[in-house]
């Protein structure tokens, strides 16, 4: 009886391992972008926008306005790369500060960062890959 239990447990572990190994390429890409994006967020964004993306008072806007992030997803790369100034409305509150530019960021870094931000803090918009970032960055001035 004991042996049967042990064997079936072993089988279960094997099946789990096999299933995990079969994670699709898309899922792997997403996970890779997300993890790298988290590191970039901590280094470049977290001081102002906060660990939980809640911003700080009326000084720095939160990143929890899912509607804003969804609607402006194609513009996020340009905002990160070129900075932002002027009035914006987030979660129904007005912000009028200045966000510094991160001109040195590559398209890949921007893609990773946007993937992280738009899939954290209550957002769920899936992978934003390097091709999407390259296309959007090209259109920054337009």
């Amino acid at each position: 009886m004991k042996r049967i239990i042990t064997l079936s447990l072993l089988l279960l572990v094997c099946i789990t391992i096999i299933f995990n190994a079969c994670q699709s390429q898309a899922e792997l890409d997403y996970a890779r972008y997300y993890v790298n994006g988290k590191g970039l967020y901590e280094a470049h964004c977290q001081n102002c926008h906060g660990e939980d993306g809640k911003g700080l008072g009326q000084l720095y806007p939160p990143l929890t306005d899912s509607l804003f992030l969804k609607r402006n997803r194609t513009k996020l790369g340009c905002i990160i790369k070129n900075g932002l100034s002027g009035k914006i409305e987030i979660n129904g509150q007005e912000f009028d500060g200045q966000m510094p530019a991160e001109t040195q960021m590559t398209n890949m870094e921007i893609a990773q960062l946007v993937t992280y931000i738009t899939n954290s803090f209550g957002n769920k918009n899936g992978l934003y890959d390097v091709n999407a970032a390259a296309a959007d960055i090209k259109n920054c001035d337009k």
Partner: protein, 212 residues
């Protein structure tokens, strides 16, 4: 019945032991001074204290050390356009502010190290956006050398201008706790939430010293 009363007596004794008074250390340099009391020579210790100062706050009002007489206060150094450690520090300082809001015995004094850009109106806007009203939390600005001197010599916080840094300033994020005698009683890393929670507790410990 007798047993219960013994038990109560024991708990009473134990809890009175546990309430042994906690005291914060006195930081900074100190020197022994000989004094003559009743004809006898005794040695007294003189501790480092914050000297007199004169700065301008977010309401364009002059602020001096007298505004901090008879209160305990927390001092730090920042600038409003800083995107490195300052937002983290003031996110944490807000917790201190809210913990002692409306307590007239506790104040906060944030010194700007960017005397050119941080005019009173810029600091006022900053305070408002941070959600700070009234004068419990003062944001002050003053002549460059005076701010840098008081930081390094008196609050023991290192600040310097550095052209190689993208933001031009390098400074430490210490929150320094000052008592009613203007002595240094604690220094906490303002970017570390655990240390800031300790500061919130220590302010109460310090306030308790003055209750007797």
């Amino acid at each position: 019945m007798k047993r219960i009363s013994y038990f109560l007596l024991l708990t009473g004794l134990l809890s009175s032991c546990a309430q042994k008074e906690q005291k914060l250390p006195i930081l900074g340099s100190r020197e022994p001074v000989e004094k003559t009391v009743d004809g006898k020579t005794v040695v007294d210790t003189v501790y480092q204290t914050i000297p007199s100062f004169k700065f301008i706050n977010q309401d364009s009002v002059t602020v001096t050390e007298k505004d901090f007489d008879n209160v305990v206060y927390v001092a730090d150094f920042f600038f409003t356009s800083c995107t490195s450690i300052c937002p983290v520090m003031h996110r944490n300082m807000l917790k201190v502010y809210h913990a002692y809001k409306n307590n007239p015995g506790v104040k906060i004094l944030s010194h700007s190290i960017d005397s050119k850009y941080d005019t009173p109106s810029v600091m006022k806007k900053y305070a408002k956006k941070l959600g700070v009203t009234g004068n419990q939390w003062q944001f002050v600005n003053g002549p460059h050398d005076e701010i840098y001197n008081i930081a390094a010599k008196n609050y023991l916080v290192s600040v310097e201008e550095d052209g190689n840094d993208p933001q031009n300033y390098i400074h430490q994020g210490w929150f320094v706790l000052i008592d009613k005698q203007k002595r240094l009683r604690g220094a906490y890393d303002g970017t570390n939430p655990q240390q800031v929670n300790q500061l919130i507790k220590d302010i109460q410990v310090l306030l308790n010293e003055y209750k007797h």
